[in-house]
Every structure is written in structure tokens, then in C-alpha cells.
Amino acid sequence: MSETFTLGLFYTVIRPEEKWILEAAANRGIPVERLHDEAVTFPLVRNGFHADLVLNRSVSHSRSMYALRFFEHYGVPTVNAYDVVALCGDKVLTSLRLSEAGVPTPETVVALTPEAALKALDEVGYPAVLKPPVGSWGRLMAKVDDREEAEQIIEHKTALGSSMHSIFYVQEYVPKPERDLRVLVVGDEVVAAMYRFSKEWRTNAARGATTEPLVPSPELSELALRASEAVGGGVLAVDLMESPEGLVVHEVNHTPEFKALSGATGVDVASKIVDYAAEVARR
């Protein structure tokens, strides 16, 4: 298949995922313009790049945010769209949107000061989970077992001094099996799903969780598609937990890694993403 558009790949580093995307584009005859997030500059008037569509693979949330807004400003479609990344990159905004869309999600309380954070934890009840609103790979999340631990963790977070740790995202601790579920949605299709197993409460592949393929049930697919649609759609990894009350969506990731998912399921995720980008470019 030959395409008439140039795919811009906005990236930080070339991991296996980006290498597979480059290979998938090459196999389809799609020219790729590589846009390294450490090197690109963004004037107010488009200049210096040719891509007709930009696929965002930057691992930096802040770089992604500004870059995607610039591409939007230049009239260049992006996968994912700026609004989707803005939403999914912020756990507070994601929770609000999922709740507005009626997608089941863990009970969440947000606090804006350390004092209010203690109150929020009391409201949610112990154990609870404290997360930075922006961040990934399970980094700097804490399972808080009691009030004494809460006071210590909040003191440490306050001492870190960054704005990211001055907003407190408190979530109920969901007593789930030693696994969660990841479903990759591309456009309006569930392309692959897997279990992530961990003895630890965090089940991120980046933290060493082991994986197994999963054939999604109609209920799981429907919920993942609803979550994807709620945040604006695109290429999204929906993370779910099996709570005693049923499936709950706890995260929607906007620039998903898929090395573990492709490895577990054998699905050529990179090709799915490139085909979707081509479809968006044709719109």
C-alpha cells in the first residue's frame, strides 16, 4: 500500500515501540519525518517541517502538551489530539471525565493543601492510594495504610516542593486480585488486551509486572471503548481493575508503551497504530 502523506514521528528516544512504528510505516511506503523533541523548535508560524500528521511518541508529558498544541495551531492533525493528551495526562481531569461519562472508576477525592489531603484520606478511608496528578509508570505513588503513615508521606511530598506534589489525588485502595487489565484501543477497535500480574499493588510493566494475553469479554471491550470515547478517542491504553463491585477504569494512557502487550498477545500493535494514523490523515 502506498500513501501520499508524510508521517511525523515526534519522539524522545527510539524504543522497540518506535522502531516497530518506523518499520510499519516503511512497509506501507509511508515516508516518515523524525521530529526529535529535544531538537524541534516551534515558531508561531509553521516553518521547517513537512509532516501531514504527527504521531506523538514523546515520553515527556510537558513536551507533548506544548508540541501538540503547536501542531494543532499549524493545522496538522495529531495522534493523539492535544485535548486527549491534556485530559489523560492529568489524573484529576481523567477521573472527572470518566465520572461525567458514567464510566465506573475508583472513588477519588482531590485536595489542594496538605491539611485537606489528610481530610481527603479520612474521607476515602484507609488503606488509600495517594498519586501525583501527573506522572506515570507508578512513580511516586503511595499506598497509605493509616493516618500516621499519611502524615509522614504528606510531609515528604510537601518537602519535595514541586507543584506536582502540592495537589493531592487520593483514591480508594481497590482490593483486587494480584493483577489488573490493560486494553489497547485504537480508534473504535479493541486491538489487544492483557493481564498484568504483580505481587505488589502496582502492576505497571515498567515495575516488572508479568503479563498474560487476555481475550476481552464483551463487557470489558465495551467498557474500554466507553472510556476511550469519554476522553476523546485515539490510541489509548485503558487500565482496569477487578473490584468486588465489578470492573473499574483507573487510568487511560495517551502514549502507550506496547512492547509487553505485543509480546504477550502477538498483535502487531505498531501496524495498527500506523494504519490508524493513515486513516486520520485521510479525513
Binding site: T12, I14, E18, L22, V59, H61, V134, G135, R139
Partner: protein
């Protein structure tokens, strides 16, 4: 051919591409291909607070 900036192990270009990250086969340090011609590698960028998926 170049070498790992940490342990000095010889690194061959093989089918690496510019920007690719890979572990040094000897010391395990994460490396990044910074140039293909001439072939150069450097320590891969360190993970920042807002990095993720």
C-alpha cells in the same frame, strides 16, 4: 565501531538506528545512538519527573 562510555566495551553498529536506546551488553548501562555516521553512542537520557505513557 564505538565503545560504551561507561565500561569501554566495543559496540558495533549492527542494525541500530539513530535515537535508538539499548543496554550495553557488558555493563547494562542504557545507551542511546546519537549518530550513525560517524557511529556514536552516549548514555541514554535520564528519566524525568513527567516521563511516562
Amino acid at each position: 565501531m564505538t565503545e560504551c562510555p561507561e565500561c569501554g566495551r566495543a559496540i558495533e553498529k549492527q542494525n541500530l538506528i539513530e535515537g535508538e536506546i539499548f543496554p550495553c551488553p557488558d555493563c547494562g548501562l542504557e545507551l542511546e545512538v546519537t549518530s550513525l555516521a560517524p557511529f556514536r553512542v552516549d548514555t541514554a537520557p535520564r528519566e524525568a519527573e513527567d516521563w511516562g505513557e
